[in-house]
C-alpha cells in the first residue's frame, strides 16, 4: 500500500497563477485533511472532508478551495496564488474521526510550494 500520496512534491508559482494539489489515499479512509506548515511553525488546518462529496473549512481556509469528488482523492486548489501561500502543504487521512478508534492521522510526505 502506498498510504497517502501527494502530487506534486515541489512547485514554484508566480503571483496570480493557479494550481491544484492532489492527495490520494488507498486505505479507504473516510476523513481527509489539508494542512499548511510554515517554516518553524506548527500545522494549521486549511480544509477537511468527512466523506465523499463533503468539505468543511478549517482554521485558515481563505484563498483555498477543495473538492472530494472521489473517496480516495482530496484536491486543494489555489485560484490566485500569493507569496503568503508559500508553505509546505500536508495532506492527511483517517479511517474515521476520533468517534471510532483513535482517529489516527496518516500523513503524506508534503508538497513544497513557493510563490514568487
Amino acid at each position: 500500500n502506498a498510504g497517502v500520496t501527494q502530487t506534486p512534491k515541489f512547485r514554484v508559482l508566480k503571483t496570480g497563477q493557479s494550481m491544484t494539489l492532489l492527495c490520494a489515499q488507498d486505505m479507504n479512509h473516510e476523513y481527509m485533511y489539508w494542512y499548511r506548515q510554515d517554516p518553524g511553525m506548527g500545522l494549521r488546518l486549511i480544509h477537511y472532508s468527512v466523506g465523499e462529496g463533503t468539505t468543511a473549512k478549517g482554521e485558515v481556509p481563505d484563498g483555498y478551495n477543495v473538492s472530494r469528488l472521489k473517496k480516495q482523492n482530496f484536491l486543494l486548489g489555489l485560484e490566485s496564488a500569493a507569496p503568503s501561500q508559500t508553505s509546505v502543504y500536508f495532506c492527511a487521512s483517517s479511517y474515521w474521526g476520533l468517534s471510532r478508534g483513535t482517529g489516527e492521522l496518516f500523513f503524506g510526505e508534503g508538497s513544497r510550494l513557493t510563490v514568487l
Binding site: 500545522l43 468543511a56 474521526g97 468517534s99 483513535t102 482517529g103
Partner: protein, 112 residues
C-alpha cells in the same frame, strides 16, 4: 476547541528519560489527548493517545492527571533519532466532524 500549550523546545542527552508536558486547561468531557512526532521534511506520525490516567505503548507513556488539564508524554531512554518536534492535540471523540488542530509543538533536541 481546547487550546494546548507546550514548551517551545527542550534539550536532552542520549539515554535520559524525557518528559514533555502539555497544558489544556479548557479540555472538555469528550476530549481525548493525542501526541504526534514530526521529523524534518516529513508529515507527523501518531505516537500515543489517552483519556485519563496512564497509557503505555512500545515507544512512549502518557500520563494524565485526574483533572485532565494537562498531560505528560514520557519518552524512556531517548536516542539521537528521537530528535523531532512533538505535538499535543486535544479532540472530541464524539464529534464526527472533529477538527484536529496542531499547536506549535515542542522541539526536542537529543545530544550525544
Amino acid at each position: 476547541l481546547a487550546k494546548t500549550t507546550q514548551p517551545i523546545s527542550m534539550d536532552s542527552y542520549e539515554g535520559q528519560e524525557v518528559n514533555i508536558t502539555c497544558s489544556h486547561n479548557n479540555i472538555a468531557t469528550n476530549d481525548y489527548i493525542t501526541w504526534y512526532q514530526q521529523f524534518p521534511s516529513q508529515g507527523p506520525r501518531f505516537i500515543i493517545q489517552g483519556y485519563k490516567t496512564k497509557v503505555t505503548n512500545e515507544v512512549a507513556s502518557l500520563f494524565i492527571p485526574a483533572d485532565r488539564k494537562s498531560s505528560t508524554l514520557s519518552l524512556p531512554r531517548v536516542s539521537l533519532s528521537d530528535t523531532a518536534v512533538y505535538y499535543c492535540l486535544v479532540g472530541d471523540k464524539n464529534n464526527a466532524g472533529n477538527m484536529l488542530t496542531f499547536g506549535g509543538g515542542t522541539r526536542l533536541m537529543v545530544k550525544p
